[in-house]
């Protein structure tokens, strides 16, 4: 094996790729060759570092110095100064230096210090296109251990004891889902990885698949072993080209190395995977709609029960798990349920991956222990609100989540605490909005999404979402009255209680939380005034509302 004195890790995730990480990498490689350093310095593609707004970014090891917002010409300076002469390029550095000019390690910067990386442990550190890198980082140890010394029942017991709950939004206990699938009667059982990520503000699954695809292969193989499935499907949304590519490549590599296929690692366990690409429908993130889509149909949710654990894909017992849920599994098997429970809170153990978006300094991807407060996330990790503006509200859990006000900054972020405040942990999207925004205008924007994405199968959702959107338009135009607010309330309750699937049940959540937490601002609209001065009121606006 060849040793290098320095490594340059370049983030090749989608968010960085957009900003030109290809040309940065090319410039870096050319410059290294020009200086004759190719035998000493290795350039590696990695997954997302999390600081998406500072891309394209690279980290030089062993020092652990991160350079960001790079252009190809910046790279010439990094190679000739840092890699050739050992001098740091301060103007491009993304972390502070100490009094003697020493670099504080990346892990000690405010952005990383509060993070705890379990799911993202390899993201930004290994080359996701090389199975060797994953194995060297301890990958496939959990699978080998399970096949060697654990029964399927004991794998399920470990996951149950860990308290792992589904990370796609609903928070259902993973161990119990696996147990139900295991005991259900069926010829051929399936594991499905739900990577149809469509919740606005969420891009964690994409970056996990891009940054560490073998982690998902291993997590799914463990799930297959536990529930007695020999086949698995990764359903990835059609727009995620790089995720699809990396996942297909990881599956091929795993097969070539005997980690998928017949008799895995010389055991009696056989399991194989395939990728299925979506065709653009948010509702397919709902597990029964996703199954319909895999079967080649319109992605319309099924009536439940029976649940997929009993009658899922092709009528067989099926466990549908989110990408992030599966990504937790190998670490739990390797380090044990007790270790996992030492992270997070008693009712929500472990970590959660969040995506920070909106009016925030550090937009990007983070992983923190459950129970951290919104204030810590926004002001310590996220760097606060840009341009000296004030925090107005945060929407947790994506567009189907609730809006929280400044008074809620100190509630712990876990499944139960957020739910008790009319919001949800959901998919981990965190949309931060400053005080220039108007609650009515934003709520209309959220509703527009559901108007577009409702599948149209059940009446409360199909008719309710446009009706709510229309009523909010009326309020926004200054033409709304208290009777409209009553109707909004009643319609919302009807949708929550009678829609067929979670899409229609959660669509009113942002509306209800807005009414609950931002009533004075909404009331001002009823009196013909938009405090944030966003809504266009009067005659011209009446037209827009229609």
């Amino acid at each position: 094996m060849k040793y290098y004195r320095a490594h340059v890790l370049i983030c090749s995730g989608s968010n960085c790729a957009i900003k030109g990480c290809r040309s940065v990498k090319q410039a870096c490689e050319q410059e290294i060759i020009r200086h004759g350093l190719q035998g000493e310095v290795q350039v590696v593609d990695t997954g997302c570092l999390g600081l998406c707004d500072q891309g394209p970014a690279l980290v030089v090891y062993p020092e652990g110095v991160m350079y960001g917002r790079l252009t190809p010409s910046d790279v010439l300076e990094i190679v000739s100064e840092h890699l050739l002469k050992g001098r740091l390029v301060h103007r491009l550095m993304q972390q502070p230096t100490g009094p003697a000019g020493e670099v504080s390690p990346l892990s000690m910067t405010p952005f990383f210090q509060k993070q705890k990386r379990v799911v993202l442990k390899n993201c930004g550190l290994i080359d996701p296109e090389r199975i060797e890198d994953y194995v060297r980082a301890g990958g496939y140890t959990a699978l080998a251990t399970a096949l060697d010394v654990m029964t399927p029942e004991s794998v399920i017991a470990e996951i149950t004891q860990s308290g792992l709950r589904g990370r796609g939004g609903a928070g259902f206990p993973t161990g119990r889902k696996w147990e139900y699938t295991r005991v259900a009667a069926g010829q051929q059982k399936y594991v499905i990885c739900n990577a149809d990520e469509g919740e606005p503000g969420t891009f964690k699954d994409r970056l996990i698949l891009e940054g560490d695809p073998h982690l998902i292969v291993e997590g799914m193989a463990l799930a297959g072993y536990a529930i007695g499935a020999t086949r698995g499907i990764v359903y990835i949304r059609g727009e995620y080209e790089l995720s699809i590519h990396r996942m297909e490549q990881a599956i091929r590599q795993a097969r070539e190395n005997g980690l998928l296929g017949e008799g895995i690692l010389s055991s009696a366990f056989s399991f194989d995977l395939e990728v299925c690409a979506g065709a653009g429908a948010y509702v397919c993130g709902e597990e029964t709609a996703l199954i319909e889509s895999i079967e080649g149909n319109r992605g319309e949710p099924r009536f439940k029960p029976p649940y997929p654990v009993e009658k899922g894909l092709w009528g067989q017992p099926t466990s549908v798990n989110n990408v992030e849920t599966l990504a937790n599994v190998p670490s739990i098997i390797e380090q044990g349920a007790l270790w996992y429970r030492s992270l997070g809170t008693p009712s929500s153990p472990g970590t959660k991956v969040f995506t920070l978006t909106g009016n925030i300094v550090n937009s990007g991807l983070i992983e923190v222990p459950m129970g951290i407060t919104l204030r810590e996330v926004i002001y310590e990790i996220g760097g606060g609100i840009p341009e000296g503006k004030q925090f107005k509200m945060a929407q947790t859990g994506g567009t189907s989540g609730g809006c929280l006000a400044a008074a809620h900054l100190d509630i712990p972020m876990d499944y139960d605490s957020l739910q008790s405040h009319g919001s949800s942990l959901g998919s981990g999207a965190l949309l931060i909005m400053d005080d220039t925004h108007c609650i009515v205008d934003l709520t209309r924007c959220f509703l527009k999404f559901f108007v577009h994405e409702s599948c149209g199968q059940c009446t409360p959702c199909r008719e309710g979402a446009p009706a709510l959107y229309h009523l909010l338009g009326k309020v926004s135009a200054g033409a709304g009255g208290h009777a409209d607010i009553q109707l909004i309330n009643r319609l919302s309750r009807t949708m929550q209680s009678s829609s067929l699937c979670a899409l229609g049940q959660t669509a009113p959540v942002p509306v209800l939380s807005a009414l609950q937490h931002f009533w004075p601002e909404i009331e001002a609209h009823l009196n013909g005034r938009c405090p944030a001065n966003k809504c266009v009121m009067g005659k011209a606006a009446g037209k827009i509302a229609n």
């Binding site: 968010n15 727009e239 080649g296 978006t357 937009s363 991807l365 999207a429 949309l431």
Partner: protein, 156 residues
């Protein structure tokens, strides 16, 4: 004659998917990818129904359910502007308006030279660099009005 040849090659293209479980969507993907106008023509849908042995209504129902399929011809390049909340709060509507003005089209329309179709889309999953849009399969992020002309110039 040309039509019959196209029909023949389309049939060859989708035959491998017939025996695959859930192969219908894959066949539709393949046909649309092969279409120069990025759409599924009525003749395509008829063919799929015949080859898969399902009612034509089922094929239409499936195609019109998903946003990545189109049943009307589109431009050489398809621009999809995200209008979901994370992009909205950082100015997606300005971007959409500017693009509409530059291309002289409304969302859903194609430019008269057939070069671009402008569409609005739900979240594209790159909110870390919002506001964002996709041209075909390329994502462009951190958009400002000034960047739009250069992005359009990349697509002839």
């Amino acid at each position: 004659m040309a039509e019959r040849q196209a029909n023949f090659s389309h049939r060859q293209m989708i035959l491998p998917f017939v025996d695959q479980p859930g192969g219908l969507l894959k066949a539709l993907h393949a046909l649309q990818n092969a279409s120069l106008d990025h759409f599924l023509a009525p003749s395509d849908l008829k063919l799929v129904a015949e080859v898969f042995g399902v009612p034509e209504a089922k094929v239409w129902g499936t195609v019109t359910f998903y946003s990545l399929y189109s049943t009307s011809p589109r431009g050489r390049h398809i621009i999809r502007v995200c209008e979901s909340a994370p992009c909205y709060v950082v100015g997606a509507m300005d971007i959409l308006k500017s693009l509409g003005a530059m291309l002289n089209v409304q969302p859903g329309e194609t430019t008269s030279d057939g070069r671009f179709t402008l569409e609005v889309a739900s979240c594209l999953g790159v909110c870390g660099v919002a506001p964002a849009l996709m041209v075909n399969m390329d994502v462009h992020g951190n958009l400002t009005r000034d960047k739009l002309a250069a992005i359009l110039a990349e697509y002839a």
